[in-house]
């Protein structure tokens, strides 16, 4: 293992290989409502993808959607917590336009950097580390993906307890972290 000895930049690889997931024991609530919503999502996706409205295709879709819902119905809503489900989805939908706006702004910034004649003076890559206040896994994943989607920053490493390593391309991209985006994600998932 001579690659191990030559390694210069290491961030505790033991932590990344064995994450301990706190939510492996799922609480057994009444899963009917969650199953129903999962079925409806799957079935609307089926209609969208098949595009045929005769009895044969619709019944095929119903049968296969029921089977998939029974097998993996607890994947989409693992907590089977039906209270405030619709409200949280609405909050999440409110988060998406803001994210799109940020993506466009940041993309223009990267475009400016790339076509700038003195690009090498403008960029200043570094890895920044910070501790996030978010608790839920889903909000952590959304936050990490949002960081990666807004150009100038890539999430290098996230741990379950919210420890972030982010690679940023210049100072301007690194400044707003964690900041506003984190509080937006926290609001979208009902964490304050």
């Amino acid at each position: 293992m001579d690659t191990q000895t030559q390694r210069k930049y290491v961030y505790e690889p033991s932590k990344t290989t064995e994450p301990d997931f706190p939510s492996t024991s799922r609480p057994k609530g009444s899963p009917f409502f969650a199953h129903l919503i999962t079925f409806l999502i799957l079935f609307s996706l089926w209609i969208l993808l098949s595009g045929k409205f005769d009895l044969f295709h619709l019944s095929l879709g119903i049968i296969s959607c029921i089977i998939i819902t029974l097998i993996s119905g607890d994947l989409l809503f693992p907590e089977s917590k039906t209270k405030g489900l619709i409200r949280s989805w609405l909050l999440f939908l409110k988060y998406i336009p803001w994210l799109l706006y940020q993506i466009i702004l940041a993309n223009l910034h990267i475009l400016y950097l790339v076509f700038h004649p003195r690009m090498m003076e403008l960029i200043d890559p570094e890895i920044i580390k910070f501790q996030s206040k978010l608790k839920k896994e889903l909000s952590l994943v959304t936050f990490a993906n949002s960081i990666t989607l807004t150009p100038g920053t890539i999430t290098v490493y996230v741990s379950v307890d919210g420890n972030f390593h982010v690679h940023s391309i210049d100072k301007k991209s690194a400044e707003p972290l964690p900041g506003e985006m984190e509080s937006k994600v926290a609001r979208a998932f009902g964490e304050q």
Binding site: T3, Q6, R7, K8, Y9, V10, Y11, P13, T16, L48, L49, G51, I103, I104, N107, I110, L111, L113, V114, F115, M119, M120, I123, D124, P125, E126, I127, A144, N145, S146, T148, L149, T150, P151, G152, I154, T155, V156, Y157, H167, I169
Partner: protein, 107 residues
């Protein structure tokens, strides 16, 4: 209608070009992933929107379904592209590649 489609396609093309130029110009693996992973995402959003609008030129329900499918492609790109970028970066870090930084900081 045609103007909107052309504008969307051209904007998407500009973003893709920026991504390509960025891959060539930036100094190292990690910084190159910035344009590669993300200018492509917005570029494909713009181009797919252009194609979806062009598809609705003569409105039928079938054309609407096709446009919705095209938008669904964009949704999946937006989900998978940051994840793929993250896994590439993670592979680089695990292999022990040191990120490029400016000289004055390295000292």
């Amino acid at each position: 209608m045609d103007i909107v489609v052309t504008a969307l396609l051209v904007i998407g093309l500009v973003f893709f070009t920026g991504g390509g130029v960025g891959i060539l110009r930036l100094p190292d693996f990690y910084t190159r992933l910035h344009p590669a992973g993300k200018l492509d995402t917005l570029g494909s959003l713009m181009m797919m929107m252009g194609v979806a609008v062009f598809n609705l030129h003569h409105f039928t329900w079938g054309a609407l379904l096709t446009s919705l499918k095209i938008i669904l492609i964009v949704v999946f790109i937006f989900l998978s592209s940051p994840t793929a970028t993250h896994s590439i970066v993670d592979a680089g870090v695990r292999a022990g590649l040191v990120p490029w930084t400016k000289k004055e900081r390295r000292e």
